[in-house]
Symmetry: C2
Subunit: 180 residues, 2 copies
DNA sequence: GTCTATATGTGGATAGAC
DNA sequence: GTCTATCCACATATAGAC
């Protein structure tokens, strides 16, 4: 096989890791698996990224900050938020990998950060009043609950429900927290 | 050390496993750890329970069926449910171990079963109407969201909040799903 | 039933040739 | 930069003496 440049190899490894971590999670993805998918070898993976955990932290991340799609009247934020979460395939993989990997302390910290930035912050920014922060966190818990039921548990009845109905019903529910 | 009876040894292993799985989860608990805590050895652990996974499934379980504490008027069920979940230390350990271990298929199935029996069923039993099942499942998602935020993510602001306030606020929120 | 010793496998990480 | 070969730690599970 033709020899690739260092940067190209690095990218291929990063891409393979990103995919496998999202599909199988941290524990069930080995450095060997990543190397194989990247048509490389374990030694190179470590050379480029140091450790498996560092590679995970570098490839499994997420940011919804400054999400223009959430720029709707507060009264519509509940539905809009749920719609946004269900539409995004990337969120599912990242969320699952982080939750299931969260017995590793560094991964739990990353989950904390993403929970904060993706679920709490967008809501917090739209609320005011003395208890705005607490309300945003309760809303974030509600949001996380949907992802938990759908993807971690895999509640078959919910999974089989028309997403539009979930958006309407769960969105209305979330809206209750935002504008009681 | 005095030789113990087979049954006593079995119980000691079961007890050690139950504790370690709850405290550290499946992946971070080794058969050696369990054997050591039970003042026994790995061979016996396997002899008595077959595999580590079978031992996990036998020791990490939960049932809130026929919970008399939830025998309150429907209008109070939201608060009561949250109060019940937060008061029970056992739920926390079991929930965490199951969620974090859920990349193992059998453990995910167990989580599914417990989610169903502990979160969905008690609510489902109190609701009526064509969409009762769906509403119960949405309620279960909301419930799971609180445990997720508190224990999996470890949202520090929520963890530091007076449990009684959580009961009141999150209970009211849950109540909205039960009696809109 | 209980133990010691070990088979067997896997995975992260490293050494060193090219 | 990239590879092969391997070290090493640790895990589950088993064999066989007592």
């Amino acid at each position: 096989m033709a020899r690739r440049s260092g940067e190209a190899t690095r990218e291929e490894i990063r891409s393979a890791a990103s995919r496998l971590f999202r599909e199988r999670g941290f524990a069930r993805t080995s450095v060997r698996d990543i190397a194989a998918l990247a048509r490389s070898n374990p030694a190179l993976v470590i050379r480029h990224f140091g450790t498996k955990e560092l590679l995970f932290l570098e490839t499994v991340d997420l940011s919804l900050d400054d999400e223009p799609l959430l720029d709707v009247p507060l009264e519509q934020l509940g539905e809009r938020f749920v719609e946004r979460l269900l539409a995004d395939d990337d969120i599912r993989g990242v969320y699952l990998a982080l939750v299931r990997g969260s017995n590793e302390e560094q991964i739990r910290v990353r989950l904390q950060k993403i929970h904060e930035g993706t679920f709490v912050a967008p809501v917090r920014a739209r609320l005011s009043g003395a208890d705005a922060d607490l309300r945003a966190r309760l809303a974030a818990a509600v949001v996380g609950g949907l992802l938990y039921a759908l993807w971690v548990v895999g509640d078959e009845r919910l999974v089989a429900t028309d997403p539009r109905e979930l958006v309407v019903r769960y969105g209305a529910l979330l809206q209750q927290v935002l504008t009681p």
